[in-house]
């Protein structure tokens, strides 16, 4: 007995793979190795991604990856934030940002303009937030 792999200990093979082994497909393979996008500055965590075309039929564009198609699909019914898309697709934020950047270039989605980071939202909006919270 010189080896003791899972087969010999009687545990199922899946015990070979845990989270430390990493994903089967390396995440940045989906972006063809790109780690940033020109749109980076606009893709704040809470920037909303909105599909331009809200028709129900799936996109038929051979240049898009399944993940691109998923993003457009998720944003069709209602706008979703960059953070929500990353969580929903279970992909790192950096990967999702690159994919959204591609969709912006292809004009399949647009992104809401977040409040400029340098300035706080105006008093009117803050008051509306307080009213909204009170009504919860």
């Amino acid at each position: 007995m010189t080896t003791d792999g899972p087969a010999r200990t009687g545990r199922p093979d899946t015990s070979w793979y845990d989270d430390d082994a990493g994903p089967v497909v390396r995440p940045y393979a989906m972006t063809r190795g790109r780690t940033s996008t020109e749109a980076e500055e606009r893709l704040d965590l809470i920037a909303l991604v909105i599909a331009e075309d809200r028709q129900e039929e799936p996109l038929d564009d051979q240049t898009l990856s399944p993940e691109h198609v998923d993003i457009v699909g998720l944003c069709r019914d209602a706008p979703l934030s960059v953070a929500e898309l990353a969580a929903e697709l279970d992909l790192p934020l950096g990967v999702v940002r690159v994919l959204i950047g591609d969709l912006l270039d292809a004009e399949l989605v647009h992104v809401s303009r977040p409040v400029p980071p340098a300035e706080l939202p105006d008093e009117k909006i803050l008051r509306e937030v307080i009213d909204g919270l009170r009504a919860l």
């Binding site: 934030s81 929903e88 303009r113 706080l120 909204g132 919270l133």
Partner: protein
């Protein structure tokens, strides 16, 4: 699927909603995700960022030289206040060394809540210090754990050496109403600071 899409279907010509965020910070195990979950309309979601080079100066890789990436997770929730007004709550990563991620989270944040546990007040120092230095409107909410001794808010303020204007409240991170009141207090505080900033300085 966690998103209530049918309810949120928008009219095609509706303007893009305004999104805002509030951070929920504090030490490990203080109840950040519990607080987010108490008021969020969705089960708190988790998003991750994979760190490589960015973590290098601070990550001690001795013994794990083969490990090139670290994953840092952020839990967040959403409150749709109106069809065109959405508030996101982000729990900050527990590990203090991910400061650069805090910078991304803090950018454009409306305000921040520092959750504190009176048994481990020192765990909230780092977050308080961060928001003070960045000039971000923040307040301290003491999560009243069952079995932990209660202290008046003023005692906590003294112990944390907070400015008189920083709101301090006692709360229960599990209770929706309690967390909602904390959020209202932090937005009111942010509004107070904004108004003051915009007023011309006294002669």
């Amino acid at each position: 699927m966690v998103f209530g899409r049918s309810e949120r279907r928008r009219k095609h010509d509706a303007p893009d909603p305004v999104t805002l965020k509030i951070l929920v910070a504090g030490g490990f195990g203080v109840g950040k995700t519990t607080a987010v979950g108490a008021v969020s309309e969705i089960k708190p979601l988790r998003t991750e960022e994979r760190l490589t080079e960015a973590g290098r100066p601070v990550d001690d890789l001795v013994g794990v030289e083969g490990k090139r990436t670290t994953t840092v997770a952020m839990d967040f929730g959403r409150i749709t206040l109106r069809e065109d007004l959405v508030l996101y709550l982000f729990g900050t990563p527990g590990q203090d060394r991910f400061w650069f991620l805090w910078d991304e989270l803090a950018r454009g944040a409306l305000g921040a809540v520092v959750l504190a546990d009176t048994r481990r007040l020192a765990d909230s120092f780092a977050a308080i210090d961060y928001f003070e230095r960045r000039g971000i409107a923040f307040m301290v909410a003491v999560n009243c754990f069952d079995g932990a001794e209660r202290y008046p808010a003023e005692t906590v303020r003294e112990a944390l050496d907070l400015d008189a204007e920083v709101p301090v409240m006692l709360c229960d991170a599990r209770a929706k109403d309690s967390v909602r009141d904390v959020l209202i207090a932090v937005v009111e505080h942010a509004m107070h600071l904004t108004t003051r900033q915009r007023e011309p300085a006294l002669p």
